[in-house]
Symmetry: C2
Subunit: 199 residues, 2 copies
């Protein structure tokens, strides 16, 4: 026991946060105790209610405490016949920040990774298949990460979409805007050549 | 609103932690929601009880939910007539980790900083004066940080101790063990020359 039980317990509990080691946990605990008791109490209640009440959107699988997330529930989305498949809720946020996509999302909450026990069931692909069979989807846009697992997941889902005769596409991978060719890795360069568009 | 209210609220609340910006807060929230609901619930209850119950040790001012912290309450400390004055509870931990000091501590929870409104009262120096007047203290060891504010605080407390005719010393500042002279800054080198000991 380094401090008194409650303080020790707080420091130990803070370590469940990603990227928080023993020193950071200690710093966080002391800062909260010293200067931010109210914010700490607010965090405690926000955590407690989020942990117990937040579930998944029944349409797109993102996190929400309602049946449908705000995006799925919105009637103001322009292209509700487009579904963009992403790996995480953070990806949804990144795409929404751009504001150029007005369709709906489907959040896999992971990628196919048989070694970690993540198969089609864990990614909710049967729910996606229901959407595809429903006849309201005109195009499936795959925005999984350009990693080995993300690629495998994209191919698996593309096969599913083809079975339902639904148009399927993958977002372009290439040189990022503002990037310099000189510093772009060769695989990305190769992808940017393969994905070239006529102008 | 980016996500549903509870998730947004959690992300916003996590930002009260030091060093946590919008992206990290989002990452923490998703990790807790996705994989660590139990740890999140435990953190919520640890936070709630620490924020409401943890106060200050009536003897040394460190954080504890009891009247006395484990160190002040311990009867097995060898030199209870020595008091080491430090700025933060983390400093206590650093010194305890060494295991070479067996006296008691006095935690200032800050340093003199008139511009920020931190004066002797905020540092609990009247409580320290009571200890000094109590006649049980044989030596006061000042271990405030070697910064401008830490130095000022040390001088202020040294004057207090001299008024009570109590021996007062400051921990040595110099070249750290394992450090190389070449890379030590000139102020530290100057301190290490001033603080040289006969061998």
């Amino acid at each position: 026991m380094k401090f008194s039980p409650l303080v020790d317990d707080l420091i130990q509990s803070l370590r469940c946060l990603p990227g928080v080691g023993p020193k950071s946990a200690q710093r966080m605990a002391f800062q909260l105790l010293e200067r931010e008791r109210k914010a700490g109490q607010k965090l405690a209640s926000a955590l407690a209610s989020a942990m117990s009440d937040v579930g998944h959107c029944t349409a797109c699988r993102t996190f929400t405490e309602e049946t449908h997330c705000p995006i799925c529930a919105s009637s103001r989305r322009g292209h509700s016949d487009l579904i963009c498949v992403v790996e995480t809720p953070a990806d949804v946020l990144a795409i929404e920040a751009g504001g150029h996509f007005s369709g709906r999302y489907f959040v896999l909450l992971g990628h196919l990774s048989p070694l970690d026990g993540v198969g089609p069931d864990e990614l909710g692909l049967s729910l996606l298949a229901q959407h595809l069979a429903g006849g309201e989807v005109s195009e499936l846009i795959l925005a999984t990460n350009p990693t080995v697992e993300g690629d495998a997941t994209a191919h698996y889902i593309a096969d599913m979409a083809k079975k339902h005769n639904i148009k399927v596409s993958r977002i372009a991978h290439g040189v990022p805007v503002g990037g310099e060719l000189e510093y772009v890795d060769s695989t990305t360069l190769a992808l940017s050549f393969n994905g070239r568009l006529p102008i």
